[in-house]
């Protein structure tokens, strides 16, 4: 009997699913070094699973001697989702090595009855809040973060190069030169940013715009070099041009009769500078109750770079009635996928797929025009009133004389 209970107990132990969850915020606090800086920094521990638990705190990192925790241990009840704490930073008068120095506040999850439980066995989870202290470099020192490279809808590419002066001297002139290479390694453009001053500790964005309207969609790489007061720093970044790799130019259904098999013929253009593989068309048509009434797929195609191909898909329209149906059109391929809500109009001898062209830009344009018209109208009305006011005043003055 005891043996049975023992086996059952072991089984239950294996079936039990332990879930721990622990969080800390902020994950990182960044400050610039100042001699003898004293600062209190707040952080919170998150008990996202709403469990009874305890947390012990520890400090690490090369700045650990400059950190003093206000608490070393805390208990959480299931009802407490977050608790706030703080630590004191007391920086020395000097840190010899410039650059990044860190400290880490470690929160380690423990069972709530830690004091009575003694040693903890098994998986343990710890989360860390970091303190980053930037000690300025002597002279001028520029760090780049070219993370935002935005391929815009109008065909322009905007290069945003975040630059931080980590030196203790101001930079008079910083300028970025951006060499753009295509996927074959050929240089296709050189773009330059404006010149900017960057004060010590300041973060700015060096901006350059590249008109890429005549450039093929595809993968590109940029080599960025920033010169500043006789020195330079560089960085590299990959990016894509072209939102839609494949574009559906039109969909036609020829020689159709309701109740028969409709042959969809989609002309698809590859705007990418590389061959696209595993491409297929998928049209889902919904009935009035939003249920799928047709799921039409073409075979898989390969589309050569900068070329067009016809994709063919079939729909057996037996039982389909005349009318307008909502649908969703997908174009899937090895570089991603495209989808668009469409309307499928079915008549006795015709099927039309409507809604392939986007309307977002037109809407934006209308809004912008309306805004301009209103502003102009207000200015004109205001000016007319002012003129009328002046003319009338002159008229009255004349009459008085």
């Amino acid at each position: 009997m005891i043996k049975k209970f023992f086996v059952l107990g072991i089984c239950i132990l294996f079936l039990i699913n332990f879930v721990f969850a622990l969080g800390i915020t902020p994950g990182r606090t960044t400050i610039d070094f100042e001699p003898n800086l004293k600062q209190e920094i707040a952080f919170s521990v998150i008990n996202s699973e709403h469990k009874d638990m305890a947390v012990i705190f520890d400090v690490r990192g090369d700045l650990n001697q400059s950190i003093s925790l206000n608490k070393a241990f805390e208990e959480f009840s299931a009802s407490e989702e977050t608790k706030s704490f703080s630590y004191s930073v007391d920086l020395p008068s000097e840190i010899e090595t410039p650059g990044l120095h860190t400290a880490e506040i470690v929160a380690i999850e423990m069972p709530k009855d830690l004091k009575s439980a003694g040693t903890v066995i098994g998986s343990r989870l710890a989360v860390i809040s970091q303190l980053y202290v930037h000690v300025p470099y002597p002279g001028k020192y520029l760090e780049l973060d070219p993370q935002i490279i935005n391929a815009q809808e109008d065909g322009n590419v905007l290069f945003l190069i975040a630059a931080v002066n980590r030196g203790d001297l101001d930079i008079g002139n910083a300028k970025a030169t951006i060499d753009v290479y295509d996927s074959f390694g050929e240089k296709v453009a050189i773009v330059e940013s404006e010149q900017r001053e960057i004060l010590s500790g300041q973060r700015i964005e060096l901006i350059a715009k590249w008109s890429a309207t005549k450039i093929n969609a595809g993968d590109y790489r940029v080599y960025i070099s920033v010169t500043y007061d006789g020195e330079f720093v560089d960085a590299e970044k990959n990016f894509k041009i072209g939102k839609n790799v494949l574009e559906i130019q039109r969909i036609e259904v020829n020689d159709f009769e309701l109740g028969g098999i409709a042959k969809f013929n989609a002309l698809v253009e590859n705007k990418w500078s590389e061959k696209i593989t595993d491409a297929y068309l998928n049209l889902i048509v919904y009935n009035e109750k939003d249920q799928t009434m047709a799921d039409i797929k073409s075979q898989v195609y390969e589309v050569d770079s900068l070329s067009k191909t016809n994709m063919i898909a079939y729909w057996d329209t037996v039982g389909v009635k005349k009318g307008n149906y909502d649908g969703k059109l997908f174009l899937k391929h090895n570089k991603g996928s495209f989808d668009r809500d469409v309307t499928v109009r079915v008549s006795n001898d015709e099927i039309l797929v409507m809604g392939l062209s986007g309307e977002v830009l037109i809407e934006k344009l209308k809004k912008s025009n309306l805004q301009m018209i209103l502003i102009i109208a207000v200015i004109v009305l205001g000016t007319l009133n002012l003129l009328w006011f002046i003319v009338l005043r002159k008229f009255i003055m004349k009459r008085k004389r």
Binding site: T25, I46, N150
Partner: protein, 160 residues
């Protein structure tokens, strides 16, 4: 003489009406200028409060060199320091700023193995150790899950 006085009176009335219309237009423009009220953060969403505007501009630098235009009052933003303005028919509001703290949150599901899920708002660097020896070091993206065969200890920090 009386006729002249009447004319002056009428002209004064017209003048007053015109002046009032002008003041009303100027007042309306001033009144309808976009104004920012504040920012709330709830459930990883940022709620913007503003008046007389149809959109907001958000940027991570006060120069607004690369702003993003949002036509909603609510949006989801990653951690960082942000600057924002409300945009209306009568121009833009003054600039406000707010910050979103990074959150390192991880759930650990211990069954036959161990599954970690990043529930925070930043990619997490996870260091796995067993018996005091580091056995793994990986990045878990936001909402990504990773499975581990052993029951180890895990240290999680914000990834660079």
């Amino acid at each position: 003489m009386k006729n002249k006085k009447d004319k002056i009176k009428r002209a004064t009335k017209v003048f007053l009406v015109e002046a009032m219309v002008f003041l009303i237009i100027v007042g309306a423009i001033l009144f309808l200028t976009p104004k920012i009220i504040g920012v709330n953060q709830e459930d990883k969403l940022t709620f913007f409060k503003f008046t007389n505007a149809y959109a907001i501009l958000i940027d991570d630098n006060p120069e607004f060199s690369s702003p993003e235009k949002i036509n909603e009052k609510t949006t989801k933003l990653g951690p960082g320091e942000y600057y924002w303005r409300a945009v209306g028919l009568f121009g833009e509001s003054e600039t406000g700023n707010f910050s979103i703290d990074s959150e390192v949150v991880i759930s650990m599901d211990v069954d036959e193995g161990t599954t970690l899920k990043n529930k925070g708002n930043v990619p997490a660097r996870v260091v796995e150790s067993s018996g005091g020896i580091i056995t793994g070091n990986m990045i878990i993206e936001i909402n990504e899950e990773r499975e581990f065969s052993n029951q180890s200890s895990f240290e999680v920090r914000q990834n660079d």
